[in-house]
Symmetry: C3
Subunit: 268 residues, 3 copies
């Protein structure tokens, strides 16, 4: 992970985000702080060109509309053609039929390398019955989070990251559980969306996408813990600012010292 | 108010915002800090579904266009049909004919429960002659703020909240003046927009909408005062962060201790 | 400059921004902190009305699409007709053919008073061969920054400001180099976009647009230095908040004491 974080800061990979209007600023600032170079580009006239030159493409359906979904597909196909990793954040899948259908339509048309969501969103995409409220996570049904991630990875034929109290990332065969993070992340809008873009940034500097994803989850979780422990962090306002500070300041040594990653037991 | 604030944090009501591109992030973070669960959803394909399951629907015309106004009407009609309270923030009404006409069109088509604006915006909507500059408040004409609010409530047949140095909320018959707040609120973009969403959040936990609105104004005003008094708050940057911290930290006791609410004298 | 900053705070000029979805909030808060009155209005139905009553119009193509470019042209023509200064920020010009073409289309249709960009963006617009990556600055080719600015000012027949380690502003004949600023500006998304809007705000209070632009660059650069030196500013999160605080707090005396402005040597 030392290598990946250093590579990020040395090469400043361009991360092309097609994301929602709520989190654009926070996502861009988080990527900049970490060392990546964010770009937001949404118009059908330019997304293929931008995705082609990017180190990763991140698609986020948080405030989707028909036109934006079409842009995502155009960008995704360009990324696929040029070997650029594609990530999908299915924000609020299940909250409305339109969101679920749009997420599935993207997954059908574009080869997605990593899907990141909370348990409820991932469950909705693979047709598991779970209640969700708005864009927030609900309770899992009969499967635990690891089982859900493995099942989704198989069904979607992609790497799946489910984040929550603990984070899981798996290709359906092997995977990791990351124990880092902090509850204040749930009180900052776009904390999950930024994380998906951070996953994208790590895939831009490491071809093994499962390893890249694990590193991203560990770096982000440790940075969140460091932010929460900062003097003066007494609420979600300060926390979001300190999270940006810590994404900027975090060192490979911090991740080695505080990262808590364990392998996922095989389930299926 | 103790009850309402606790209910908010216990039930995390889903607040559906169709708002402007300037304030989405701050609105979402403010609602999250307070204990509500924000969602932004704009597409005609999904707004009826989202409004139906929400605890309140907040419409804000800050960066409106034709398509967005249509989405607001679709969402509003769905909210009306399912008994979900609807709030309208007529940002910049009067600044251009398009804004005024759009606000009136929404009010004509949708049953709005609370309109919140500054004095100039409310005056423009009911055809009172007041000068306004951009989206900022101007001077009132012949009516004082309380009279303007009562007149608007009668004419629009809705609860009206006018915010400024003092806040007024009335159904045209009874009402309240809330003396809390801080001048730094005028230096943070979206402070008014977030307040409208906070009003929405309180209507989601209290059926008496005038009481809900009064509680929201008091909580927000006290939180603003607490934020301004925090060590290190020396300008609008720190203030906006501390406001999020204080919306998260504020207790019923704070509101009881610092809230300054007096009844509105009957005028008409 | 004392006069201009004071005028800004006394008159709160309305600045009409048609800008990208990443920076709207930060731009509005920066302008408010400085003393200007920001408005964002994008719809073709209202941009001519809004631009007409504004003190300046700022066009930013950071997340452009066909419709938005048309709105920019409508607004720009209205501004031209009513003597309102127009500023253009060609974000990411060169990154995709669509961006470059859109910037040129605006420049062709609208009389632009000041173009502000990084070296790569300005070079792309005038057909100088420079590599750029995404929306970030690349290296200059054979021309140094001052030469590039002078050449662009001649070719585009407008004032050109190129910002980077040092900032240059010139009408192609005379000009200034501003040595203020801080490297953390490159780690805050929209720091350049906000600066373009600040340039706009100063043109609203000073008819000599080169002087207005020089004052804006000095004020912004000094505010950035003050923000970086604040206790507790340890990363880009805190820095962006302190920059807002300092735009609010900065006095004419600060600019006189810390501003480092030297005249541009004539080149052509």
């Amino acid at each position: 992970m030392a290598l990946l974080l250093q590579n990020m800061r040395d090469t400043n990979p361009l991360i092309h985000n097609i994301t929602n209007v709520v989190v654009t600023n926070f996502t861009a600032n988080g990527l900049l702080a970490l060392g990546a170079s964010p770009v937001m580009a949404y118009a059908k006239e330019e997304v293929a060109d931008m995705a082609r030159i990017a180190g990763a493409l991140v698609l986020n359906i948080g405030t989707l509309n028909e036109e934006l979904v079409e842009s995502m597909i155009v960008a995704g196909l360009s990324a696929n053609e040029h070997g650029v990793p594609v990530l999908l954040d299915p924000v609020g899948a299940g909250a409305t039929p339109f969101r679920t259908a749009s997420a599935l339509r993207i997954l059908d048309r574009v080869k997605v390398d990593i899907v990141r969501g909370n348990a409820a969103e991932v469950a909705q995409i693979i047709g598991e019955d779970m209640q969700i409220k708005g864009v927030d996570a609900g309770e899992t049904g009969d499967l635990n989070i690891s089982q859900l991630a493995v099942k989704a990875a198989h069904q979607l034929n992609t790497i799946v990251a489910i984040t929550g109290k603990e984070d899981v990332i798996t290709d359906g065969r092997i995977g990791w559980i990351i124990e880092n993070g902090h509850s204040l992340l749930t009180k900052v809008t776009g904390a999950g969306c930024l994380l998906t873009s951070v996953l994208g940034a790590f895939t831009a500097v490491e071809n093994d996408r499962l390893t890249a994803g694990m590193a991203a989850l560990a770096v982000y979780g440790v940075a969140a813990e460091m932010a929460a422990e900062r003097k003066g962090t007494e609420g979600p306002g300060s926390f979001q600012i300190e999270l940006l500070n810590m994404l900027f300041a975090i060192t490979p040594d911090d991740v080695r010292q505080y990262g808590r990653v364990r392998p996922l037991d095989r389930i299926f």
